[in-house]
């Protein structure tokens, strides 16, 4: 690699207002707009337990009380019916359960908490009644271990431990980071135009020099990746430190994924520039549009799109670099394990290496039929 070319390519990118806007400022502006739009949704909504009083005037079934405690849904208190009515009137509880002739849930008005309590109680009553009826007709079932078998359930899905605090809005910011990484493709496309003599006068001059074309290309590409990576780091710092969006505690993993994203994005742009025979301006415009489409498919504009693609066309999800970045960040944030993160990282890196290999093969000893 030539440090001389690296240095000047980096300088050019810093001085290029268009590159600065699209590769650095645009993601920051978009992050700010996201923050304004989602500010009310960003706070993590924690589930509040439903406050239910159990009337002590009559005995309640023990299994109901223990089931309610185990469910962790209810905040139980024990009162007389009179006190419970008073608490209910003061909206201090959502309802109370009493056992006169049968189990009853008394509520003051309808709502989500009341519905939860009602569904839970109805379900309990139904199951209890069913079990009593079965045992009543077949008492030998108790000896056969029927009651033990009742609690036996077989799970056919793997339970993956998930992080306790999560916020789906963060996925938008992940898609934004993916877009930031992919915007390096435009600079990659420009870099390839500087080593192909049929693309620009500057490239012809570079080709005439005794510097190997691959060496020049790799130096330019390294500067591009470096510049875009710094842009991504600035975006992450801005989003987490200024906008106070919680990306979790795996920043190092996020950084590595962004580095891979910048590498693959740059190589994607360079390959596009190498294979598509159009004017530079047209190619760059097409490329920015392709980037936006890839980001759209990864959920940048509509979050559900990511899940729709994952479900209906998983192949697209696996070959879309924007989705691989978004999904890798999502996996880091959502899951305690690294399996899915490393899968995305591997796919992303492999894609970048494949692009790079094709570029090197095409560029080697290239002469042009016309300039």
């Amino acid at each position: 690699m030539s440090f001389h070319i690296f240095k000047y390519t980096f300088k050019q990118l810093i001085k290029d207002r268009m590159a600065l806007f699209w590769m650095l400022c645009f993601p920051l502006i978009l992050a700010t707009l996201f923050n304004l739009a989602f500010s009310n949704l960003m706070s993590t909504e924690s589930f509040e337990q439903v406050k239910i009083a159990l009337s002590t005037d009559h005995d309640l079934p023990e299994d109901l009380e223990s089931a309610m405690k185990e469910s962790n849904i209810f905040n139980l208190s024990y009162t007389t019916e009179t006190e419970a009515k008073e608490l209910l009137a003061n909206r201090e509880i959502s309802g109370f359960i009493k056992n006169t002739d049968e189990l009853e849930l008394i509520i003051y008005d309808s709502g989500l908490n009341q519905s939860i309590a009602k569904v839970f109680l109805d379900n309990h009553v139904q199951i209890s009644t069913t079990i009593y009826n079965i045992i009543d007709g077949n008492p030998q079932l108790i000896e056969m271990g029927f009651l033990e078998n009742l609690s036996f359930t077989e799970s056919y899905t793997e339970t993956v431990p998930v992080s306790e605090s999560m916020n789906m809005i963060v996925v938008y910011y992940f898609a934004l980071l993916a877009m930031t990484c992919l915007f390096s493709s435009i600079a990659g496309c420009y870099a390839i135009s500087l080593v192909q003599a049929n693309q620009s006068a500057v490239a012809a001059r570079v080709n005439v020099a005794p510097t190997k074309k691959l060496k020049a290309f790799l130096s330019m590409i390294s500067a591009t990746i470096c510049f875009q990576f710094i842009s991504a780091m600035i975006a992450i710092t801005y989003i987490t430190q200024i906008l106070k969006v919680d990306f979790g505690d795996r920043i190092l993993h996020i950084v590595v994924l962004c580095l891979f994203g910048c590498f693959t994005g740059t190589m994607f742009g360079a390959l596009f520039g190498l294979l598509v025979k159009l004017k530079s301006e047209v190619k760059e415009m097409l490329l920015s549009n392709i980037c936006m489409v890839l980001c759209f498919l990864s959920g940048l504009m509509v979050l559900q799109m990511k899940y729709i693609i994952q479900e209906k066309a998983p192949i697209i999800a696996y070959i879309n670099p924007a989705n691989l970045i978004t999904d890798g960040l999502y996996a880091l944030y959502y899951y305690d394990t690294f399996h899915r993160y490393f899968l995305n990282l591997t796919l992303l890196g492999s894609m970048g290496i494949a692009f790079c290999a094709i570029i090197i093969l095409v560029l080697r000893r290239q002469k042009y039929a016309s300039i």
Partner: protein
């Protein structure tokens, strides 16, 4: 021989851009490639630089075969493109340093060379300027500085004065002469015959990809029958006078256009005395009379039947 082009053929589909081109350029000369637009000058240059594939032939530079990976040969070549080839985001100094750095790795040496190039093209007051702030002439000078900063032995200039004002053009031409005096061999392409006449020690005239004449200026001009042109501003010339002038020995052609009579004659003894006597004897009133030697345009005209700038 610095450059040897042997039987070079380059086709674009059915169009033959270079048709069995044979050129030899000696060390220390300024060699001109003259021809109208589309004659194959730039294609020839691109083939010499190994930028373009060609269908047939062989190119040697410094006695070795030129190919894309001939880095030691490239080390000693400087190119000034027809289109200005600089980075818009880099200053004058940075641009020269960038391109010089592709040839010279040693930082200290490079710094000296860049300074010398800046002084050579007189851009000292503009080193911190960006290309878009430079005038057309200054931009051309920057383009030249980027091509010659590494002190190449062979400098190829492809129409470096296109769209340049006369003052900048003279500066550029003077600069090229100085480069040659400092030891560089120059290949200069242009469709301006005046530039080639003023600058080049030898030349080749190209038309439709073929060399139609090559040699020194005198040799090339000697290839045609025209030896002298006598131009007279006349006011009462009749058709019979023209016919009689045609009969004067060594006269090849006589042409009257808007009171300007042009008499072309074979090389040899001057006919100026005979012509002026004829005018005096026939009471033809006249304004100015002058004689001129054939130009490269005359050479081109006689060989191809069309003007260089057609």
């Amino acid at each position: 021989m610095i450059v040897k082009i042997d039987n070079l053929v380059k086709r674009y589909g059915d169009l033959i851009a270079l048709d069995h081109l044979n050129i030899e350029i000696k060390e220390g000369e300024i060699f001109g490639l003259l021809g109208p637009n589309g004659s194959g000058k730039t294609t020839a240059i691109n083939c010499i630089l190994s930028l373009l594939k060609f269908d047939k032939g062989n190119i040697e530079i410094f006695g070795r075969e030129m190919k894309p990976t001939a880095y030691p040969i490239k080390q000693d070549i400087g190119i000034v493109m027809q289109n200005v080839a600089v980075f818009e985001e880099l200053t004058v100094y940075e641009n020269i340093d960038y391109f010089c750095g592709l040839y010279i790795k040693d930082k200290k040496k490079r710094k000296e060379l860049v300074q010398q190039a800046i002084e050579f093209v007189a851009l000292k007051d503009f080193v911190k300027f960006y290309p878009k702030k430079l005038s057309g002439g200054l931009l051309r000078r920057l383009n030249i500085a980027c091509g010659i900063a590494h002190k190449p032995k062979l400098i190829i200039l492809d129409e470096p004065t296109v769209a340049v004002d006369p003052q900048s053009r003279n500066n550029i031409l003077e600069g090229i002469k100085r480069l040659n005096e400092e030891g560089a061999t120059i290949i200069y392409t242009s469709h301006y015959m005046e530039e080639i006449e003023q600058l080049c020690s030898r030349l080749a005239i190209l038309d439709k990809g073929k060399v139609i004449a090559t040699g020194t200026k005198q040799e090339v001009k000697g290839m045609i029958s025209l030896g002298e042109k006598i131009v007279i501003e006349t006011f009462n010339l009749k058709e019979e006078h023209i016919e009689k002038i045609r009969e004067i020995p060594n006269v090849i052609d006589v042409e009257l256009k808007e009171n300007i009579l042009t008499i072309k004659q074979k090389s040899g003894a001057s006919n100026l005395v005979n012509i002026t006597s004829f005018i005096a004897n026939h009471d033809i009133s006249y304004g100015k009379i002058y004689s001129e030697l054939p130009t490269l345009n005359d050479v081109f005209l006689e060989i191809t039947g069309k003007e260089l700038r057609d």
